[in-house]
Symmetry: C2
DNA sequence: CAATTTTTGAGTTGCGCACATCAAATTTCT
DNA sequence: AGAAATTTGATGTGCGCAACTCAAAAATTG
């Protein structure tokens, strides 16, 4: 038998007794208050180690009881994936409430660096924690760094700004996601040759760009017999995507596959259906939405590479809380997976 | 702007005032204590609704403060996946400790219904919550039902006993997992025909049997040109698997793919390497272990269908806690996904 | 109507910790 | 040495709720 945590009734009082000091001193050490000599601090810390003291989360929370304020900055517009994230954050309401956290979901134009940077700057001092779907741009990076310098915990969401001082990135490795899409297309083609069309939202978005990069990497390395067409930009808009794919289909007789790095799968579905090519062209896209789900079920898309917006919403909340209240982050738990969704493992 | 939880300082006192009753009465209603008339109970409940009262988790926990005891019954032996789960449960120690939960990890022979049933019966009264990797057998089901009848919260882990009264199943849909493996093999074969070998642990295990079922379903429906060989049982043992696969390779000239429903991938890898067929035969297996990871990286396996043991360990803990302390379960969060792992999206 | 039962109020205690305050002890400086 | 600064102790309060007890009020009964 393997007993976890046999007897952990170790309280601050026990620590104080073991260290031969008063409760007040233990409190000073633990909460980093001034006025403790190094010697006593060491005594206390060693007692904590020795007794394996672990503060009771409930009591600490209750006693602290100053509510934390979080802000989540999401792109406006009608991006379905972002709406899903927002919904999952709202679904967390009980979790937030029980922890005395208020979360404001703010919409903004994340595609404009100035707007985003200004918006970020306006949050300083008003929030303890900020999550942002960020554009990777020097001005945005500076705004993030300023927030961090001001004592605000900042995490990036879905799209990262690696060079900034953000404490954490909640999202997937988009290069790996692109590689995964590439491997799926390469494998599914099973030796067939021809051209592969690429529909992307915008090359200016870091996540899309990284997916393209990973995709190109794998195709070049593993499937050199397949030719990649230059990416066409549809801004994640179904109408534009439809027009672009229709043109691809007429211009490219030997088109064998399509890779969509972003949203707007519905437009691709319509274009393929119109051309009667729905199940002849191999399609792989990203993110699970009502549209992409439908196209996966009817066989238009062979697979989706996705990230779980619910997991991201919860991970964001946990990480921000951990950051502002100085508690540990369970490793592994916050790793967002690159998921492969076929018709058969649809959640 | 979308503010979550604008001002939720609603406490029991507020509810009492709003309902025009005393704190004691509110407490009686909320905690189901006797001695409250229907009329007052309704008044209180409506006040709770109206004010959107949500008990502060921390305070409730602190006040309750009777430690909960959980038991986790895992199969003994050297199953790597089970060891991973155990490790992830141990990694939860701080989480458990902070919530005054003690968890005992018990090993037993889950393959023997009598042993397992006896073991389960012995837990009655000693634990508030039990998680068990269960064999689907009438005697085991009866033991689970007895535990539940005695007031113990029971969840099944990894392998379910659907007909029992367990409150929850923490694990994947194994039929979907088998279907996913089937689709991967079918797609990856890309029109090639031939025979597919199946290596299974034991047909007596519900999870393996369900995977076989799902796999067979997809292959029959979607890829009728491919012939499935009868499954061979290797008991998840690398040695046996090696021998079985070696025989398959010599006996079946037109073997094009292998499906392993369980563990022991290492044995398959050795057999394939010995026969020089490592990257010629398409292999799909289950679960991510050091062995399967290696074989995925070196190209022997094309894909793995997996479940996240860390997620399962955490989900089990959350669900048990929710069950014993009557708190809500966040839907979605406890759904264990059927993951597809390629070389490119290895975690 | 009185006697009983049921329902409600009022209050206390404690969970373990954070965060004060004030006084006492100790060390450091002049 | 005395004065000043630093370090420590003692003690209290409150966070919001659970879980009691005991008495008072109301409703039900004979």
């Amino acid at each position: 038998m393997n007993s976890l945590d046999p007897q952990s009734n170790v309280t601050l009082k026990d620590v104080a007794a073991a260290a031969g000091v008063s409760l007040a001193t233990v409190d000073r050490v633990i909460n980093g208050r001034p006025g403790v000599s190094d010697k006593t601090a060491r005594k206390v810390n060693s007692a904590i180690e020795r007794l394996n003291f672990q503060p009771l989360a409930a009591a600490a929370e209750l006693a602290r009881s100053r509510p934390s304020r979080f802000a989540v900055l999401l792109p406006g517009g009608d991006n379905r994936f972002m709406k899903d994230i927002a919904d999952h954050i709202r679904a967390q309401a009980p979790w937030f409430r029980a922890r005395r956290i208020t979360a404001d979901i703010l919409e903004t134009n994340v595609f404009d660096a100035d707007t985003l940077a200004t918006e970020l700057a306006s949050l300083a001092g008003r929030y303890e924690g900020v999550a942002v779907v960020a554009l990777d741009h020097p001005r945005v990076r500076a705004a993030i760094d300023d927030l961090v310098a001001g004592g605000t915990a900042v995490v990036t969401l879905v799209s990262d700004v690696p060079s900034s001082r953000r404490a954490h990135y909640v999202g997937i490795d988009n290069i790996a996601a692109g590689r995964t899409a590439g491997s799926l297309i390469g494998r599914f083609l099973g030796g067939r040759t021809g051209r592969v069309g690429i529909v992307t939202g915008s090359a200016a978005l870091r996540d899309h760009a990284e997916r393209l990069f990973g995709f190109g990497q794998v195709m070049a390395e593993e499937y050199p017999a397949v030719t990649l067409l230059p990416p066409v930009e549809g801004r994640d808009d179904p109408q534009q995507n439809r027009a672009l794919v229709t043109r691809l289909l007429t211009d490219t007789p030997d088109l064998v596959a399509l890779y969509n790095t972003g949203e707007g799968a519905a437009g691709i579905g319509v274009a393929l259906a119109d051309a009667g090519a729905a199940r002849r062209i191999l399609c792989v896209g990203h993110e699970l939405t009502p549209d992409s789900r439908r196209l996966l079920l009817d066989g238009t898309f062979a697979a989706l590479v996705a990230q779980d917006p619910g997991h991201e919403a919860r991970s964001m909340a946990r990480v921000l809380r951990a950051l502002v209240s100085g508690r540990p982050i369970v490793p592994g738990q916050e790793h967002i997976r690159v998921e492969v969704i076929l018709r058969d493992n649809l959640p």
